[in-house]
């Protein structure tokens, strides 16, 4: 289980402190798939970073009782000067997984070919997404944090992710941030909406969408 309790996140800006998340609470049980909706800049990525532990909350607590991935997003998590293969080894070591064989598995899944031995800074965002996703599947987590990346990219890759995540790893928990309503509707049992730093959870995705559309229109 992951529990966020009364979490607030403030960032210093040139115009004083900005409150990005304001007293947010969220619980994710094993196997649950939760969608997060919100407009650009609503704080969705911040929320995911806090859940992952990459950033610390300004107030409140986050408890993790299962292994949680890093935020699988288009940016971050890799060192640009290192090759894809070196990044695979680095990430494996950090999570205590033997790097033996991991590079081959990532090569197989990501279909990056020889690019895997080029520096990551030369990758397109799609290639980074494939690398991030492939490594996270090799390391294995109880909860995957997905910030947009599986919903985009070419069709073949989307299909592959589909199979690996939602069929082979049905038992895992996921938090999915996406702008694609269909995607969330298809894969999440419930959803929450971020508006003005407040998070409202709904029992069904449909209710969440109704609220999301209502607040975006206003």
């Amino acid at each position: 289980m992951i529990a966020m309790e009364h979490v607030t996140k403030r960032y210093p800006t040139r115009h004083g402190e900005a409150v990005v998340l304001d007293d947010v609470s969220l619980v994710i049980r094993p196997g649950e798939k939760v969608g997060i909706l919100g407009r650009n800049g609503a704080g969705k990525s911040t929320l995911i970073r806090l859940v992952s532990g990459a950033e610390q909350p300004s107030a409140g607590v986050i408890r993790r009782q299962m292994s949680v991935s890093w935020p699988l997003a288009f940016g971050g998590a890799f060192q640009g000067a290192l090759t894809g293969a070196d990044n695979v080894r680095f990430v494996c070591r950090v999570y205590g997984k033997s790097p033996e064989g991991a590079v081959d598995q990532v090569l197989d899944f990501s279909e990056l070919g020889r690019s895997l031995w080029e520096p990551v800074k030369t990758y397109s965002s799609g290639m980074r997404a494939r690398l991030a996703f492939a490594i996270s599947l090799v390391v294995e987590f109880d909860c995957f944090l997905i910030d947009e990346i599986v919903a985009v990219g070419d069709e073949r890759f989307v299909d592959k992710c589909q199979h690996e995540l939602f069929e082979k790893r049905k038992d895992r928990a996921m938090i999915i941030v996406s702008h694609n309503p269909l995607y969330i509707r298809e894969h999440c049992e419930r959803a929450a909406v971020l508006v003005d730093g407040r998070l409202r959870s709904f029992d069904t995705v449909d209710d969440a969408f109704a609220y999301y559309q209502q607040t975006s229109a206003a």
Binding site: R64, S67, G96
Partner: protein, 263 residues
Amino acid sequence: MDESMSLGRSWAIQRRVIGALLMREVVTRFGRHNIGFLWLFVEPMLFTVGVTALWTLAGSTHGSTLPIVAFALTGYSSVLLWRNMPGRCIGAITPNLSLLYHRNVKVIDIYAARLLLEIAGATMSFAILGCLFWGIGWLRPPEDIMRVLWGWFLLAWFGASLAIFLGALAARTEIVDKLWHPAAYLLFPLSGAAFIVDAAPAGFRDVILLLPMVHGLELLREGYFGAAFRPHYSVPYIVIWCLGLTLLGLAQTRVISRTVALE
């Protein structure tokens, strides 16, 4: 899998992370071309050999009757040890920023990996050159090896604590980077590498002994030269400096760990 894990498990994770960061640093810093990671100690060795050769040719006895090769080796090696560390920690976060996306990778681990590498390089250079010069008869082995190691350890601690403090400060303000370069340059002639305290005029001696690294080097040289050398140092003095800088450095690191903004 609870987050509130034991100290032992935290230590295991931290070791793992520092190990991964060490490998990462070695690959980007030295690459896999030509002699690769051997540069770690070949580069400081070249510096030390160069300085030793220059001082020998110039006959710079720096006010002492000590054998010049041993004088240069102890002096320049210890400068390389403490002076290069702050440079490795200043600006260490930016190229590693995206790695902080992984929960267990902390700012202090990035510093630790870089410092361990720096200490390893300087130590190997010092040890290899010492054995080499001894082997070809240019210098005699140290009189008291434990004292040499103790001095070396204190200098490494001083360098590491200064590095963490300056590295963390530099993450908050660019001025630190600007000021460290001239400071590092000016501190070299004052650090005791190129003179011995005993030969310094009394007034100057009191001023120079305010610098903590002078104490470490005098201790090291006492171990090296034994009775032929009249040392001036205070172990509590340098230890207090190291403790103070360590505390300040860890506190600053804590501050920036909370505020560092991911991309």
